[in-house]
């Protein structure tokens, strides 16, 4: 019988049986690894990150309150870990805050359809070219279907800051798309 995530967590916390650990790990390993590679862009770094992320997940399993889906919680830890790692490597305070607070307001919002109608190959190129912080919020919103509230909770920012960040990320993505593909076809 296939157990739900919540049931697996409960059983693991009660019994510490490696069977439940393995099931949870197997379920999320591919996704976590894929996100690590996508954000860190290095296989070796992604492998190390994955180990730390899963350790963090299992050490904090008892703190998972079930307010959000378990997958959302796992991805939040993954994004935060990778963003933190990139921040440390670049030796900058944050890859979010300054930009959010200092950037001028953008008048027009890029519609979701502008991003969602991009071809997959082109979208991949666009996501590679925009800053990692922007990429992370776009992936959280459109790939992992996280709500603004869930994104703001996981990144520790206010909902309005996240809305602004998303707005800017969409703008940047569209701009990169136009610069890369539009005038190529002219």
């Amino acid at each position: 019988m296939k157990l739900s995530d919540e049931e697996l967590i409960r059983q693991y916390l009660e019994t510490q049986n490696s069977r439940y650990f393995d099931q949870l790990y197997t379920k999320y390993a591919t996704k976590v690894f894929s996100k690590c590679i996508s954000l860190l862009k290095e296989e070796a770094a992604a492998q190390d990150a994955m180990q730390d992320i899963f350790l963090k997940i299992f050490l904090n399993l008892s703190k998972f309150g079930g307010k959000s889906k378990f997958s959302t919680w796992v991805y939040s830890i993954t994004y935060n870990y990778c963003i933190d790692l990139i921040r440390k490597k670049k030796k900058v305070g944050s890859i979010f805050s300054d930009e959010i607070e200092n950037a001028p307001d953008l008048a027009e919002e890029v519609p979701d359809s502008a991003l969602l109608e991009m071809e997959v190959k082109k979208l991949k190129v666009v996501l590679e070219k925009i800053p990692v912080g922007d990429k992370a919020v776009l992936l959280m919103k459109y790939q992992d279907d996280m709500s603004i509230r869930e994104i703001s909770d996981s990144l520790g920012k206010s909902e309005s800051a996240i809305k602004m960040k998303l707005k800017r990320a969409k703008h940047k993505a569209q701009k990169v798309y136009e610069e890369t593909f539009k005038h190529r076809s002219l």
Partner: protein, 89 residues
């Protein structure tokens, strides 16, 4: 499924093999931490006692609920001397 999710699916297909050792390492680390935690739980009071004695203090343990002086062979509440509860008043 939108294009972001299709991109993720495509990335899964080209994903390098997940190193087999990761799950094992995480599991081992958790086991080690659990063992360390148990050891600390077990020995922390003794370590504190040793530290207190080394600094010249006097270690006095409160009675753990069992009187060795009552002579009745039944548990007593600490400091009460009466089986089942402390003295009123």
């Amino acid at each position: 499924m939108n294009n972001f999710q299709r991109l993720e699916e495509e990335e899964f297909e080209h994903l390098p093999n997940i190193p087999l050792g990761v799950a094992h390492n995480v599991h081992n680390s958790l086991d080690n931490m659990r063992t360390m935690g148990n050891m600390v739980d077990l020995y922390i009071t003794k370590i504190v006692d040793v530290f207190v004695m080394m600094t010249g203090g006097n270690v006095e343990r409160p009675n753990n609920g069992f009187s060795h002086t009552s002579g009745h062979g039944s548990p007593t509440e600490p400091d009460s001397g009466i089986p089942g509860g402390p003295a009123e008043g």
